[in-house]
């Protein structure tokens, strides 16, 4: 099997996901949330809960993520010190009842910094995956639907995917300078081509389907066909993809910051903290353990969630 075939196989599997569960979403995802639940809807919720319980990965991944999100949102409430406060009197203290995770070589509170680091990681992850999905869906739908544009768009994505992701991101950060918004821009540029490819291959399949042919035959405009008939059917592979882009963005942000090409040093980020901890391993290993564990746990939860969503949305892909 060659690389393209592996990629294509992956895409075909996503296409199948679209054709089975996309319909379900179109049928059940109607916005009737304001009405009191009808018996049918109650049954629907019960069914979802049942599904969730069967898909433990979503449950565990989602629970860990929920804790992360809550601590990021409530960072100001649950932290005891400012994450950027420098205090020369309490340098390199081991974890204790005042500094739960200890302090670093400038006397900054590792616990507060870890919590605020979650905020940054999740912000970058969320913004990157949202922008990537929007951009990737837009370009991918055009490439898959309008045959004439396909060649150009696909050559460009090929070229961009020829770059190792982190190298391209480093290059972009080098010229744009360190800042959080530049990290989001760089990571969006890096991760969009994959979504473009995925969306394109699904849309190409859908284009030939009787459903879309009927929509065109009944005189719908192209944009209406894309918006009303194609888009709802690619939602489930997009959800799965979004969770993986999210995970990769969290990881890549930390990597860029670790390398000194991500968030500026004054911003508490897990990558920055890990880079600082490198020279403190001997005296203060806690400066490495806590941000490292938080990062690993977040990536783990996101991957678990992604795997679980994939299984839920297309049971045929489940790992053996």
């Amino acid at each position: 099997m060659r690389r393209e075939e592996i990629v294509d196989k992956e895409n075909r599997e996503h296409t199948r996901a679209a054709s089975t569960s996309g319909r379900q979403i179109a049928r059940d995802g109607s916005s009737r949330a304001l009405l009191p639940p009808s018996p049918r809807e109650r049954r629907w919720w019960a069914q979802q809960w049942f599904l969730l319980r069967r898909h433990k990965q979503i449950l565990i991944g989602g629970a860990i993520l929920l804790v992360m999100v809550l601590s990021a949102v409530l960072a100001a409430v649950i932290t005891t010190n400012s994450p950027t406060l420098i205090n020369g009197y309490v340098r390199l203290r081991a974890p204790n009842e005042y500094y739960f995770f200890g302090t670093d070589n400038q006397g900054r509170d590792v616990y507060s910094r870890t919590v605020y680091g979650a905020r940054l990681s999740l912000q970058v992850g969320f913004l990157t995956s949202a922008l990537t999905i929007v951009a990737g869906t837009f370009v991918g739908m055009i490439a898959g639907y309008y045959r004439r544009t396909e060649g150009v768009i696909m050559r460009i994505t090929d070229g961009m995917m020829a770059f190792p992701g982190i190298i391209l991101a480093i290059g972009i950060m080098a010229v744009r300078g360190p800042s959080v918004s530049n990290v989001v821009i760089a990571l969006t540029i890096v991760s969009t081509p994959r979504v473009v490819r995925l969306v394109r291959s699904v849309v190409m399949g859908l284009r030939e389907s009787p459903m879309v042919e009927a929509a065109i035959a009944t005189g719908n405009t192209n944009s209406r066909v894309l918006w009303r008939h194609v888009l709802p059917n690619i939602v489930s592979p997009l959800i799965v993809q979004a969770s993986f882009v999210f995970a990769e963005a969290v990881l890549a942000e930390a990597a860029l910051s670790f390398l000194g090409a991500g968030a500026p040093p004054e911003i508490p980020s897990w990558g920055n903290m890990l880079a600082d901890s490198k020279n403190l391993l001997r005296q203060a290993p806690w400066t490495m353990f806590f941000p490292g564990a938080a990062l690993a746990l977040t990536v783990f939860a996101l991957n678990l969630l992604g795997d679980g969503l994939r299984d839920l949305l297309d049971p045929r892909l489940r790992q053996r």
């Binding site: 190298i167 391993l281 690993a296």
Partner: protein, 313 residues
Amino acid sequence: MLAYAIRRVLLAVPVMLIVASAVFLLMHFAPGDPVGVMLGPDASEEQRLALREKLGLDDPIVVQYVRWLSHVLRGDLGQSLFLDQPVTTALAERAQPTILLGILSLIVAIVIGLTSGILAARSRGSWLDLSLMGGAMVGITVPSFVLGLLLIFFFAIHLRWLPVAGFQPLSAGLWESLRYLILPAITLGAGQSAFLGRMTRSMMLDVLGQDYVRTARAKGLAEQTVILRHTLRNAFVPLLTIIGLMTATLMSGAVITEQIFDIPGMGRLLIQAVVRRDFPLVQGAVLVIAAVYVLINLVVDLLVGFVDPRIER
């Protein structure tokens, strides 16, 4: 086979061209004036003009592009702003550590990945399978820089078995050089070995379900023969593709590993160039790393075509 090889090589040409163009455009992606970004706010007007002149930024962009491309094709990647030497020389001087690290980590990844994948597939559902695949999940989840720091903490600081960081060239003696590279190679290879382990297991399971494997077993062949001769051989072609992808990924992962362990390789040079805003060097390093990445993929595709002739179509 030859036709396939030629077609595949020709396909790589436009990709390389796009890569080179993207690297050229990178410079113009800077907010505002790239020269201003490079020199910082304290530079005088004369310095700026001199650098603009040196980099040829005053010419029309098409002229700049053609010039850049023709220089690149002749192997000239420009002059580093800070190192006072050509970019190609700077990169070549730092190639050895990166190549050594890449080879060693590939060995780590393949040995651990294939072994654990085969063992897990053989005893599917057993505690061995579960713990190996659990380990693989951990390996995929823990980022290399966290793993690297953990390894330094336990094996270099706590147990003092291996050096904390640094590098010794091969000329210092094989063992002396290896000692410094063991932890980096594990750091870089671990994530990939986890990935390969999962893929090996799934490919092996695919093949193990085939009729000819059942026949092999029915003939009374030893389990070892069934696994190695009948299953692994047939799972090998897709695995080769994946190992190729891994090799390319290791190349870029080396940037992070070199930074963790202070290894003076090409990746560390790239990061130093980023910090010093040495744009020509950044461009050169990104281009070379991307070119190697494309090249490895090309070689792997050719290899796969050679091993599995069904592919040439």
